[in-house]
């Protein structure tokens, strides 16, 4: 018998600190597989954000930097400009990329920085205990919206891929999810393409991954996958929002 699936060499043996069933682990593996397949482990530098993924530097075997809250893409910009031959990626959650880091995100995108952005959208603040995030759905119950997100006072969730796809500097924007095997395989291809774009010098590439937060949603891991499918996908449609090769689809 031959091994057909094993842990990629670009992930360390450190056990991940994420809650049981958290999809961060799947996305970590997809990023690691992309680095392994493209053979860029040795020149990759990841930028960790603030949030549950703050300690992801323990899990990737490539070099990592930990940026202040929201500033990952500003740090990545500096890294890429100082060392253009390295492959630079950020790994950010919604509380980081779409809240405190919105300015850094929009401006890195509009400058067309040649970096890869992995954006985890789980519609809640995970590490701090489940408060409403900019991406929380209308009516969603969180610690700070016990009666559900009221759009009269809290407004509407940010659709990051749609927003960034209007900017000329963006080369690639795709929204994927990891709720089943088929979607994980689509996400794997999207993440690999986002890295490939950077290697080919195409410019800013973002992959938004709809993820679960079973602990703060108050659901079991499998129930959380179903909740994602029923509630998040209708508000955040999956698909390619911008691809410089193929033109804007939606």
């Amino acid at each position: 018998m031959a091994i057909v699936f094993q842990k990629p060499s670009t992930l360390t043996d450190a056990p991940m600190h994420y809650c049981p069933g958290c999809t961060h682990g799947i996305v970590h593996r997809l990023v690691a597989q992309a680095l392994e397949e493209l053979g860029v482990e040795g020149k990759a530098v990841g930028v960790a954000s603030v949030g549950c993924s703050v300690m992801c530097y323990d899990y990737f075997t490539c070099d990592m930097v930990q940026a202040p809250h929201g500033r990952a893409q500003a740090v990545a910009t500096g890294l890429k400009r100082a060392r253009p031959d390295n492959v630079i990626f950020t790994y950010q959650g919604d509380g980081d990329l779409a809240a405190i880091g919105t300015a850094e995100t929009v401006h890195a995108a509009t400058r067309g920085e040649n970096i890869t952005v992995i954006f985890i959208n789980n519609a809640i603040y995970g590490m701090t205990g489940g408060q409403m995030a900019p991406t929380s759905l209308p009516g969603q119950i969180t610690q700070t919206t016990p009666y559900g997100r009221d759009t009269n006072t809290a407004g509407y969730p940010v659709r990051v891929c749609e927003m960034l796809s209007t900017l000329s500097g963006v080369a690639f924007a795709q929204r994927v999810t990891v709720d089943n095997v088929k979607n994980v395989n689509i996400a794997r291809k999207a993440i690999k393409k986002a890295f490939q774009n950077q290697i080919e010098g195409k410019g800013y590439s973002i992959v938004e991954v709809l993820s679960t937060c079973p602990t703060n949603w108050g659901l079991s891991p499998v129930e959380a996958l179903k909740w994602l499918e029923d509630n998040m996908i209708p508000y955040y449609p999956l698909g390619v929002y911008k691809d410089v090769e193929e033109g804007v689809k939606k």
């Binding site: 018998m1 056990p15 991940m16």
Partner: protein
């Protein structure tokens, strides 16, 4: 002939592999606990495994190795 090897040290008993298995032959082993205090995933009917790697694809902790 195929099999999966579960690294029980890192398994958190989340059950995503149980849910993902198309043949429904994986279960959490309720008779045992790992060092973290979780019931680890176990292949209950090894002879039926086809090595599709659905379980490994959905495992957040990359605890599953698949041989075929």
């Amino acid at each position: 002939m195929a099999k999966i090897i579960v690294d029980e040290k890192v398994c958190k008993g989340c059950g995503m592999c149980v849910h993902a298995c198309p043949l429904k032959i994986i279960a959490l082993d309720k008779s045992r606990l790992n060092a973290k205090g979780y019931h680890p995933a176990k292949l209950m009917e090894p002879e039926k495994c086809v090595g599709c790697a659905s379980c490994a694809t959905m495992c957040p902790d990359t605890a599953i190795t698949v041989e075929r």
